[in-house]
Symmetry: C2
Subunit: 354 residues, 2 copies
DNA sequence: CTGAAAGCGCTTACAG
DNA sequence: CTGAAAGCGCTTACAG
C-alpha cells in the first residue's frame, strides 16, 4: 500500500493549467479571477482533495488560523485535581469550537499563571510560537492589566470574557451578572419571600461582587431589609454552600429563601436542608447561578441563572476571526452583553403561610 | 509604543555568534555541540525571549507539534444541544492537554461524522491541512475500520481509545469495562443482594455490551439466576434510566438492587425511586458507571465505576509524542488497559432483612 | 485578469 | 563539532 502524500498547490495549479497564484486567489476568495478559470481551479482542488497546509499559510501569510484561549492555571488545575466538572471550560470549548470550525479556524487552550514573575515571558513566548490570530481571555486573566498590556504591545487582537473594568478600547464580552442576580432575587420576592438569605462566592472575584450587588439592588428596590445576619461570605464550593446553608438554617429566625451566588453552593444548601429535615421548596426556596449541569439532576432540580458562556465564546471567536480577515473592521472595539436566561425549575415556590 | 516583533533564529544566531544550524541543534537537543557553545546559545535564546515558530518548524521539519482528537460529530452535537455535561470530553481535554504541554505539544479537537459518504475526503483533508504528529480516536470512531484504514494509508500515527476490536497492530488504550462491571455487580452481591436488575445502554455500542457481559459474568459466577425480566434495554439517557427504573420497580417481585450501565441512567433510577417512595439505599441499592460529575451531588451520592478517561488520553498523548520524536520506538504497538477505580458512595447498602 | 519572483523561519541533507 | 545551501508550501508585493 503506497502512502498517499498530500497534494500541494503546485499540483493543483498544473492540474488546472494555471499558476499557483491563481489557485491561491480562488482559495482565498480574492477578486479578479474569471468565472471559468475559477471553476477549473475548484474542480482541480476537489479532484485532488487539496487543502492548503496550515503551517505554510501561517509562515507565508502571517495568519495561523488559530485562536488561543487562556485559562487561569491555578483555577483550572484545582478543578482538575478534585475532578469537579468545570462546565465553564466545556461550554467555552464547544461554543468557541463551533464558531471556529465554520471559518476553518482552530481553538487552542493554554494554562497561564498571570501572577507568576515570568508571566510576561511565558505569554510572549507562547504568542510568538503559536502566532495566533486572536486570543480569548477568561476571568480572572481578563482583568489582569499586565497581561492586557503585553497583548497590546505585541499587537495580538484579543477578547476579554466577563471582564469588569472595561476602560480600554477593546473587545469585551460579558453577561450582565448583576441583572441576572437581580432577576433571581426578584423571582423570590415575587413568590412572596421577605427574608431572603444570600451566600456570596470567593471574596475578591468580580463575579461574586456583581451577584451580590444584584441581590442588594432587588432587596432595596422592593423595600426589604438587608439583614447582615442572612448575608454570608463563602467560596463558591459545594462544602462552602453546605456550611453557609447550615448556618442560615440554624438562625433563630431563618430565611424562607436562599440565593447562592453559584449552583455548586446552592446544591450544598439543598443537601444540608435535606439533612436538617427542611424540605425544598416547601420549607425553603433555593436559587443558584450558572446553570451547572448537575443542577438538572438534583432533587429538586435547581432554579438558576444561566450564564451563556458558550455564546460568549462563539461571539468572541467570530469577531476575532472577522478582524483577522479584515483588519479595518471595527469588530474589536465593542463591549457586548450576551443575553442570559433565568431558568425556573423545582427548587422555588411561595413560602408556607405562617 | 513600538510593537515588538518576535525574534527569529537568525537574530539568536547573530547574538550568540554561531550559525542558525547550531541554534537549531541546541533547540532540538541534537548532539555534537560543545558545552560552551551550547551555553552561549541558551543565553542568547533566553535574553531574546526566543521561541521557534510552530508554523516554520512544521513546514520545514514535517512535525507540527500538534495532536488531534476526533470526536463523533452526532454524539457531541447532541450533548451540546441539550447542554448535558459531557465529562468524557472534558477529561479527555485535560488529560491530553496536561501531557501535551509538558512536551510543548498542542491538542486540537475535531468533530467527525464517520458515517458520512465523504468521511474519507473530510478526514484526509483535515489531516493534510493540519499535518498532526498523531491522532486520538474516540469511540465509536475508534472502531471504524474505514477510518483506521485511511489513517494507515496516510501514515498518520494514531491511538484508539476504548476500542473493542483490537486486531490491527496499533496503539489501543482501554479500561477493562467488563471487569469494572463485574466488580460493580460483585459489590452488590457481596452486600447480600440476589435479585439485581440491569439497565443496558444504547444498543450496538461496545461499551454497553462489555458492561452487560461483566454483569452476567458476576451473576453466573455467583450462581445467581439471570432473569430476563430484570434486564432492560435502554439508551444511556437520564430519561431512559427513569423509564427503566420505573419498569423494574413496578415488577411483581422487584429487584433489591439495580446496576445501570452508566451514571446518567443510574441517576434517573434514583430519581424515579424517590418519586415512588422507594428509599435509596434502604429499599434499593443503585450502582452506575463512569463517575459522572453529577454523581457527587445526587442524593444519595452514587456508587459507581470510575472510567479513567483523563489518564487514557494522557497515555495516548505521551506515546504519540514519543513516537513523533523517535520513529523507531515501539510505543505505538501496544494494547494497554488503564486502571479504573470502583467508587463506593452512599447509594448502596445491604438489602432489608425480609 | 494573470503570473514570475521573492521570502516567511525553520529543518533536512550534505560537506568539511 | 560546525556551517552553507536548499527547500518545505504557501502568500506578499510587484509587474504586466
Amino acid at each position: 500500500m503506497t502512502q498517499r502524500r498530500a497534494p500541494t498547490i503546485y499540483e493543483v495549479a498544473a492540474h488546472a493549467g494555471v499558476s499557483i497564484k491563481t489557485v491561491s486567489r480562488v482559495l482565498n476568495l480574492e477578486p479578479n479571477v474569471r468565472p471559468k478559470v475559477q471553476e477549473r481551479v475548484k474542480r482541480a482542488v476537489s479532484e485532488l482533495g487539496y487543502r492548503p497546509k496550515t503551517s505554510a499559510r501561517g509562515l507565508a501569510g502571517g495568519r495561523s488560523f488559530t485562536l488561543v484561549t487562556f485559562l487561569d492555571e491555578a483555577l483550572t488545575l484545582d478543578h482538575w485535581k478534585i475532578d469537579r466538572s468545570n462546565p465553564y471550560v466545556e461550554r467555552l470549548q464547544f461554543g468557541g469550537m463551533m464558531a471556529c470550525r465554520e471559518a476553518g479556524y482552530h481553538l487552542l487552550f493554554e494554562l497561564l499563571n498571570a501572577e507568576a514573575e515570568n508571566a510576561e515571558a511565558i505569554l510572549s513566548s507562547t504568542l510568538s510560537a503559536l502566532n495566533p490570530d486572536g486570543v480569548i481571555l477568561t476571568p480572572p486573566i481578563s482583568d489582569n492589566q499586565k497581561i492586557l498590556e503585553i497583548l497590546v504591545r505585541m499587537g495580538t487582537p484579543f477578547a476579554r470574557l466577563s471582564a469588569t473594568e472595561t476602560d480600554v478600547a477593546c473587545l469585551s464580552i460579558t453577561m450582565d451578572e448583576r441583572a441576572g442576580a437581580n432577576e433571581a432575587t426578584l423571582h423570590l420576592i415575587g413568590l412572596g419571600h421577605k427574608r431572603i438569605g444570600f451566600i456570596a462566592g470567593t471574596p475578591g472575584l468580580a463575579s461574586s461582587r456583581a451577584r451580590q450587588d444584584g441581590y442588594t439592588d432587588a432587596m432595596r428596590a422592593s423595600g426589604l431589609a438587608l439583614d447582615p445576619a442572612t448575608m454570608l461570605q463563602s467560596d463558591y464550593t459545594y462544602e462552602g454552600g453546605k456550611a453557609s446553608g447550615r448556618a442560615l438554617l440554624s438562625l433563630p429566625n431563618p430565611p424562607t429563601a436562599i440565593f447562592a451566588a453559584n449552583d455548586e453552593m446552592a446544591l450544598g444548601v439543598i443537601h444540608v436542608a435535606s439533612e436538617l429535615g427542611v424540605e425544598v421548596p416547601r420549607d425553603l426556596s433555593v436559587v443558584g447561578f450558572d446553570d451547572f449541569p448537575a443542577s438538572r439532576y438534583s432533587q429538586p432540580t435547581l432554579t438558576t441563572v444561566r450564564q451563556p458562556v458558550g455564546d460568549m465564546a462563539a461571539e468572541a471567536s467570530k469577531r476575532l476571526i472577522a478582524h483577522a480577515a479584515d483588519k479595518t473592521s471595527q469588530e474589536l472595539n465593542a463591549a457586548l452583553a450576551i443575553n442570559h436566561a433565568f431558568v425556573v425549575r423545582n427548587s422555588t415556590s411561595s413560602p408556607k403561610a405562617s
